[in-house]
Subunit: 332 residues, 2 copies
DNA sequence: CTGAAAGCGCTAACAG
DNA sequence: CTGTTAGCGCTTTCAG
C-alpha cells in the first residue's frame, strides 16, 4: 500500500507538503503542488483515513442506528438523514439494531470506537445506554422514541395520531375497536395505547381492548389471532405499525373476514403499499422523511457548534389518511 | 478521554499489560489482571478503536453496500448478511448507494479508508471501480449484479426466472405480454429482458414489447403509462422489481383497469405485501436472504484464508409463485 | 512557503 | 510473566 512518505519521495518534497496539498491547504507553491498531485496520481495514493482520524480525532461519517430495516418508517427516515448529511459532506453509516438491545449496544460501541462524528439513534428501549457516547463527547440525537430527555430529539406525536385513528374508527360506526400495539417497554407502543385509551374513554360505554406484541409481521398476526379468537371479539382493529398490519392482513385472509363489513382496520405508518392492499388501507401517516431531515440538522448543528447545554426537542405531527379499510359498510 | 496509559498508571502496571488484559491474552497474572480491570472500570476506559485499527490494520466490521434501501430484496439480503456476520463476531455497516454511482464511489472510499475487513457490494453499474479495494487487499464479494468476474460473487439466475414468468403469462392466455425492466446499464435489467425475449420467441407470433425505466416506483408508473397509452397496448405486464410494481399498481388503479380480466400482472421479488394487494400478486421470488448468507460466508472465508486465486461464483435460482394477478379470467 | 519532528492511542516484538 | 520500545500513517506546530 502506498503511503504519504512514498508520495513525498516520488515528488521530492517533505511529507508535510504532501499533506498540505492533499488537504487543499493554501500556502503551497503551485508548481510543487502539481508535482505532488502527479506523484500521488502516478502511485495511486489513497490517504489512510484511519491514521487521519487518529490524528485529527474526527471523521466525516455519522452513524444512524435504526430499530428495523424492514420497516418503511425507518427507511424513509434514512433517506431524510442521508439527504441532509450529504449536503454537508458527511456519509451515513446505517446500523440495523433489529429490535435487539444487544445489537444496539454493539453498534453504539462501534460508533464510539470508530470516532463517528455523531450518532442518530432510535433507542430500542427507554434505557439505552448513551453514556459512553457522551463521555466521548460524540453528539447524539434521539429519534422516534425518547430517552432521558437530556439529548436532542425529534419525535412524532404518536398519542394524538392514535387518538385520531381511534376516534375515526368510532365515528365510522365501529363499536368494539381494539388496539394491537408494540411491546410494553417501547415508548411508542405505550403512547399509541394512551391515545387509544383517551379516545375510548371520551366516548362512553366502549370497552378497552388491546394487546401487546412485537413490532413485527408475526407479532401482528398472533395478536390478531388472539383477539379474533376471544369470546367477545372486536369489530375493528387499530394496528400500531405497518409491519404488524401485514400480519393482521394475513390472519384476516386466513379467516375469510371481509374488511369493511366484518372488520374495520386502520394502521400506523403510510407504507408504500398501503394504497394497494385490498381494500386500500386507512393509515395515520408519520412524517418519517422529515424526522430524518430534522434529526440530521440537529446533529450537524451539534457537530459544528458543540453539544448545547439545553437539549432541543422537536415534535412532529401525524396526519390521518382515510382510505377504505376503516369505513363501515352495512352488510344488511 | 481516558486512555490506556491512564489505566496503566491507575493500576500501577505498564501499558503493555493493560493491552494484554483488554485483549484477553493469556500469560497475565490473575491478580494483575484484576487490578487492571478494576482500574479500567473505575476510570470508564474504552479502548480507542481507531488507534487499534491503525496498529493492527484491521477491524471487525464488514461493509455492505446496497443499491436501494427501500427495496425489500435488499433488506432481506441485509438480514442474511447480518446473521452470519454476527455469528463470527463481525458488525455490518450498511451503506445505501441509492442507485447512484457517485454515492457508491463515496461509500467504497469510506470502506477502504476505514479499513473495513471486507465489503459486499451490489454494484450500481457493470463498471463500478473496485480497484482501490483490491489494491488495499480488502476482500470483496459482489452480489446481485456481476462485475468483472474476477471477484467472488453470488448472483441469482434472473434470466430463467424471467423466462418462467413470461411463459406463465403466455400459458395463462395473455397474448401481448410486455416487460417493464430496469435501466439499460443494469445487468439484472438486461438479464430479465433476455429471459423475456427467449420466452416470447419460443412461442411463435408474439410481439416483443418492453420498456426500460429506473428501478423505482415512479419508473414503474411512467413505464406503465407509456405502455398503456400506446397505440397497441399490451394485455399483460411483467415487471422487473417490486418497487416498480407499486408504481404499476398505481397507474392501473388510476385507469380503473381490472387486473385479471383487462390486464395480467406478474413481478420480480416476493415483497412482504405481495400476497395482500388486490388481487394477490404473482411473483418470481428471489432467495434474497440466502444471497446475503452466502455472500457473507464467501467474504468471511476470504477474510480468514485470503483472497482466492480462483474466484468463486454461486448462482441461486428463483421460484415462480402464482397467485392471482397473472391469471386470466374471461370477461365474456 | 517548506521541512523537521512530535505525537494521536494502541499493539507486538523483544528483552529481562 | 511483565515492561520497554518502536512504530501504524497522518497532521500540525515550530523553525527556518
Amino acid at each position: 500500500v502506498v503511503k504519504i512518505s512514498d508520495v513525498a519521495q516520488e515528488a521530492g518534497v517533505s511529507i508535510a507538503t504532501v499533506s498540505r496539498v492533499m488537504n487543499n491547504q493554501p500556502n503551497v507553491n503551485g508548481e510543487l503542488s502539481k508535482r505532488v498531485r502527479d506523484a500521488a496520481g502516478k502511485l495511486g495514493y489513497r490517504p489512510n483515513g484511519i491514521a487521519r482520524s487518529l490524528r485529527t480525532r474526527s471523521t466525516a461519517v455519522i452513524t444512524l442506528i435504526i430499530s428495523d430495516i424492514a420497516n418503511p418508517f425507518f427507511t424513509a427516515i434514512t433517506r431524510g438523514v442521508e439527504d441532509v448529511a450529504r449536503e454537508s459532506g458527511y456519509s451515513v453509516l446505517l446500523c440495523n439494531a433489529d429490535e435487539d438491545s444487544e445489537k444496539e449496544r454493539i453498534y453504539l460501541g462501534v460508533a464510539e470506537q470508530s470516532q463517528s462524528a455523531g450518532v442518530i439513534l432510535s433507542p430500542h428501549k427507554a434505557h439505552s445506554d448513551i453514556r459512553s457516547l457522551r463521555a466521548a463527547a460524540i453528539p447524539v440525537v434521539v429519534i422516534d422514541r425518547p430517552l432521558s430527555g437530556a439529548e436532542d430529539s425529534v419525535l412524532v406525536n404518536s398519542r394524538d395520531g392514535a387518538q385520531a385513528a381511534t376516534d375515526h374508527l368510532i365515528d365510522s360506526g365501529w363499536r368494539r375497536p381494539a388496539l394491537i400495539t408494540g411491546p410494553k417497554d417501547a415508548t411508542t407502543a405505550i403512547e399509541r395505547l394512551h391515545g387509544y385509551r383517551q379516545a375510548i374513554r371520551a366516548h362512553g360505554g366502549l370497552e378497552e381492548i388491546f394487546v401487546h406484541a412485537p413490532f413485527r409481521q408475526q407479532g401482528g398476526a398472533q395478536a390478531a389471532a388472539a383477539l379474533l379468537d376471544s369470546a367477545n371479539p372486536p369489530d375493528a382493529l387499530f394496528v400500531a405499525n405497518a409491519q404488524m398490519a401485514l400480519g393482521v392482513l394475513d390472519e384476516v385472509r386466513r379467516r375469510d373476514l371481509r374488511i369493511g363489513t366484518d372488520l374495520g382496520l386502520i394502521t400506523f405508518d403510510d407504507a408504500p403499499w398501503a394504497p394497494f392492499v385490498s381494500p386500500p388501507m386507512s393509515v395515520v401517516a408519520q412524517p418519517a422523511y422529515d424526522v430524518g431531515v430534522q434529526a440530521a440538522q440537529l446533529l450537524l448543528n451539534q457537530i459544528k457548534h458543540g453539544v448545547p447545554k439545553e437539549a432541543r426537542h422537536v415534535t412532529l405531527s401525524t396526519t390521518l389518511i382515510v382510505r377504505e379499510s376503516s369505513r363501515r359498510i352495512r352488510a344488511d
